[in-house]
Each structure stands twice: as C-alpha cells, then as structure tokens.
Amino acid sequence: MKKQIANWGNYPRIESDEQTFSFTEELQTYVKKKEPFIARGYGRCYGDASLAPNTISTLRYNKVLSFDTEKGIFECQSGLTLDKVLAIIVPRGWFLPVTPGTKFITIGGAVASDVHGKNHHVDGSFSAHVIEMDVIGTDGTLYTCSPTLHSDLFRATCGGMGLTGVISRVKFDLKKIETSYIKQKQLKAKNLEDILRLFEENNHYTYSVAWIDCLKKGKGFGRSILILGEHAKKEDIPAKFRENPLKLPPQKQILFPFNLPSFVLNKLTVKAFNFLYYGKNLKREINNVVSYEPFFYPLDAIQLWNRGYGKKGFIQYQFVLPLESKAGLIEILHRISDKGIGSFLAVLKVFGRQDDLISFPREGYTLALDIPVRNGLFPFLDELDALVLKYGGRLYLSKDARMKPEILENSYPHLSAFKEIISKYNPQSAFSSLQSERLHITSR
C-alpha cells in the first residue's frame, strides 16, 4: 500500500509502497520482484536507512520460534519487537544481552544497526550475542549464517543496514537475571574532566551512560549526570518486591498529542530543561533501586515524543571518537555550545573495544544529540563531520540522514571490504535505501 513514511527524526518523509508478509515464502517471493526495496522494522532509526520508494515491513513476521529457558537462548522471526521479547523472557529470569534506549525496535533492526546499549564496554554490541541467523538474498535464497557459517555474509549483515538481504530469523543468547530491578547510582559531574574521570573510575559497572549539558559554557562546561546500574540481586531489592522479583513493569504510556512548532524548542526551553534536570539532582550521589523500565527506557513513557521537534523533524547527530581524541570531544562540544543548538537529549557514553566490519561502535567516546531541522543546520553539521573525521571518528548510520559519501568513505576503515560483500550478495543493488544511494554504497 502506498503511504507516507518517515523514521523517528521525521526527516526525510517520503511516499513508499509498503508491503507486508507473514510467512517466509511470501518474503522470498517478494524479494524476487524487479524494483529495488529495503527492509523496514519499526522505523526507529532516525534518518533514511529504512526508507525507499519500495519497502517491506517485517512487523507481521513476528513469531517466537524457540526459547531455551535453561540455557537462555531465544529464537524468533525478525519483526518481533523488543518489548514483546522482554514480556516473555523477564518473568522467566532472562534479559536482553544488549538493549538500545527504546524497546520499540525489531530484532531485525537490532541486528541490521548492530545496536549498542549502556553495557557496550562490558558486553559489546547486539551482534556479539547472535548465534545464528537466516538472511534472504536477492534471488530469494535463504542463507543460514553465523560467525563460522557464511561468515562474510554474517559480518556484513551485522550493522549492514539491510543491504545484504532481509534478515528473517535470529537466534541469540540472553543474560540471566534474578530480578527485574536495577540497582542504580547517579553521580553529578561538575564539568567534562570530571565526567570522563567518573566514567573511568566506574568502568566496572555493567551499565553506564551520562546526560550532558551541551549549552553550559565556562567552568561548568560539560557538566553532566552519570547514571550507573547493575541488575539487582534478590537481596538488593526491598522486601515488598521480593515476592515477585521478576515482575514486569506496568506499561503506562502517554501520547504526545501534536506536533509542536519547532520554535518552542529554542535555546531557552533547552536551558530551562537542563536547569530542571539538575534541580532534581541536588545531591552529588543518589542510590536507588528502580524497575528496568525507567532505567533503560525513560523516553518510551511518552509515545511519539519526537513530535516535540515539530513538523520539519530533527536530526540525531551521533559520533564516536577514539579515546585519545579527548581534544576532539572538547572541540566539538565547544562548537555546539557556541552555536547554542544543543538539545536536552545529549547522551555521552564510553564504548569498549570493537572492530567489526561495518558496525558503528569502536573504543572511544560517543555523543548523541537531537537538533531540530532548520536553515543552516546542514552546513554546520558538515563542519562537525570534518572535525569528527579529523579526530579519527565516525557517525552512526542508524541516526544519519545527511552525511556526505566522502565522510563515510574516510571514516569506516573496512568500507571497501563491506562493499565487496554487498556486491557478492546484492550485486544489482536490489536491496537499497535512500541512505545507501546517498552514500554510494549501492547504485541503481
């Protein structure tokens, strides 16, 4: 059916003929069609990675295939969303090995973007936990691949943004938990030096992430709140929770009612928001036990919060810089605070080691911030891109909607190997998105 679609950033928005399927053979038949297309999950990537004139939605292809509750191995079709997975595994004492900041993404999307979570420095990205998967290639062939089987296809599919084929089945391992609660610690950092030191000091924590104020200048430049967490053991939780330690959190959601005009989100509101956020955290350190829901998915409580950025949409700019490029992080943050366009959603995290073919994470600092689309934004982001490049970093394809092909070319060291595998499994660019065309990874 033809319809208007956009991803989470509401930019760009295009018309697409979106088809659905429920069975593997239906997918195999669809794949053989003449026009190029791209697989689409829940549309929670921010930019144009799952946009194309023809798309195939995996959302009806969402069945659980097996769950080994002893070993913690889960197998499902690619359109199953993480919220559904959690509802099944948490009551039985298991958790996702890696989760992004929203539970409204599909397993296919988790693999295709090779998503990372707050535990990257300990557990790596999602693909590190994939045991095996099926990918449907251009002629409808089903390839079963793993780190040892069709390993080239496996490597290029993890983080490959749907360009090797449509992921149909994924088998992955889970993390054992005793309770559905998180022991949380929040630490206030006065400035950038302070927060980077705190990250370092607390790198034994499984989960860590910081909210950073991009607008603050002077002495408080880089002030932030570090949020640390561990899965709580039974003895960590209050007695009243112990009766049902694996209880699922209630799923209350408020709907963001309408698109706000984007001027509402000007410098002032951003400042006000930051002020409030700090006001809540008067003490330097707060320790508490919370359900996993607010810890991992604070934003999921407000459905469609992306409307807050107005009709024109927004860009989430996320990059990673090597650890030795601290100067780069400082320089980029200065640029952002000078420009005064930073959002209230700036997230800082330290990644651990990873050196995959095309996955985004690598050891270093990653910063993500939301910026409403407006005149002059793209040239400014081009300037930031140049800095990211200069300091040996790169951008996350899952957030990107506007990077130039040269930037990609010069920042992903294994890009040509990736392209070679694409030309093997996707020689006619049958799988192609607005993003892959823009970045010259595919060409029609």
Binding site: M1, F23, K63, V64, L65, S66
Partner: protein, 244 residues
C-alpha cells in the same frame, strides 16, 4: 477448563489474530490450514508465550471428500469451531475464469458448509458446542464489483442462520460474523477508507466477545450495520443503476 478451539483457516490474518486471542485467554487450540508448515511458527509462538497446547492440522476446505476423515482424526473434539476460511480475488478476473468462480464459491460457501455439517452433527449429538462462521457484509446485497464473492458469502450467511435455528434445540450455538473492510492480506491490493477498516486484532477481540456472550450476529465496527441497512433498502430500480 476451557474447551479447545478449532480455527479453520488459521494462516489468514484473522485466523492468526484469533489464535493469539484465545491462547492468551487460556484456550487450547487446533490450528487448521492448507499449508500446515506455515503454522509451525505460530504454534511455537503461542506455546512459548502462553503455555497453551496447540495442535496443527492440515486440511483443505475445498476437498470435501476428506472432511469426515479430518474431523475423525481429531482425538479430542474441539468444543468451539471458528471457520475463517475464505477466498477473494478481483471480481473482473473471477467472472472471466470459471475455475476462479468455482474456487470462490467452494472456499467461501460449499466447502465450509460441507465441513460444518459434519461438525454440527457431532455437536448436536453431544448437546453442546459453539460454531462461529466468518461471513461478510458483501453477502447482504450483490454489487457489480464483488458479486461472485458476495453471493457465496450470502449463501454462507443464510446457511449459518439456518444452522443456528436448527441447532438451538440441541444446545449448540451458532454465531454469524459480518465484517466490513479489514486490513488483511486479502484486501492488501485495495485502497480502503481507514476509518471503516478494522485491524485483525480488533476483529479477533470482537469475535472472542461475540462467542463468550453467545451473540447471534455481529458486525465488526458498529456502523457497518447501519451502512448495510441503508444499502439493503435502496430500491432495486435505483440500485441497479449505481456503480457499487
């Protein structure tokens, strides 16, 4: 204990939504479809999510000679039978192709009638059971754009009301479901008005409630009743000139 539920046509979007709804509410299932391989993922899904028993049965609603054997094969007879099986192709193609015409009639009318006769007889003997048939508002008046499908559904609707009448004294209940537009694969090629179109999960909810409350006839989305009331009451002399 809940009776088990037989879903005839379980690989359809409505069939899958019904399976989910009943499994969620603790009913064991027998899922029947032409291609039972397609049912394996649904079977594992429901067993893992809801821990309910889920049996799979291969059958073809148009193979009337196999119906008795199919029913006999079931060790424990499901106490609720829901017939979702149906087939719709573009009317232009159907009217030009006799095989398509007969397939439309067999899948929507003669096949279901032949099978439900067998099941109803068994229920009547036991003095209990529930049968739900998914017909269509398309059967309430023949329109030039869809009258082969519509007439088959009209036949099915008439069959269900007759069956309800006959079964009443045997303690067996029969529910007629009259959906309007539904967002399913069957209608994927049509441009349907959003407001009038029901999602499979909504349809399944309504059917589930209809069965529990032993309703006779239900429309999915209330206004269909009134839309069809009007359509049925347009005088034929006017109706025949309309492009409907």
């Amino acid at each position: 204990m809940n009776p088990s539920v037989l879903i005839l046509g379980a690989t359809s979007d409505i069939g899958m939504a019904l399976a989910e709804k009943f499994a969620q509410n603790g009913y064991p299932l027998v899922l029947a479809a032409r291609n039972s391989q397609r049912l394996a993922p649904l079977q594992s899904d429901l067993e893992i999510k809801y821990g309910t028993g889920c049996e799979v049965l291969e059958f073809d609603i148009t193979h009337t000679d196999t119906h008795q054997a199919t029913w006999d094969k079931l060790q424990e007879k499901p106490g609720i039978t829901i017939c979702v099986a149906g087939y719709m192709n573009e009317n232009e193609r159907v009217i030009k192709d006799t095989a398509e015409t007969l397939k439309t009639i067999a899948t929507n009318f003669t096949g279901p009638v032949a099978l439900l006769n067998i099941i109803a007889a068994d229920y009547a003997e036991k003095g209990k059971g529930i049968i739900a048939g998914i017909s269509s508002v398309a059967g309430l008046r023949g329109r030039q754009s869809n009258y082969i499908y519509g007439s088959a559904k009209a036949g099915f609707t008439a069959y269900l009301s007759g069956l309800r009448n006959r079964m009443y004294s045997h303690g067996v209940h029969v529910l007629t479901v009259l959906p309007g537009f539904m967002d399913t694969k069957m209608t994927a090629h049509l441009k349907l008005p959003r407001l009038l179109t029901a999602q499979p999960a909504r349809v399944a909810d309504a059917i589930y409630r209809g069965i529990l409350k032993k309703k006779n006839t239900i429309y999915i989305k209330w206004f269909w009743k009134w839309i069809m009331f009007i359509i049925r009451h347009i005088p034929e002399s006017i109706f025949k000139k309309k492009k409907l």
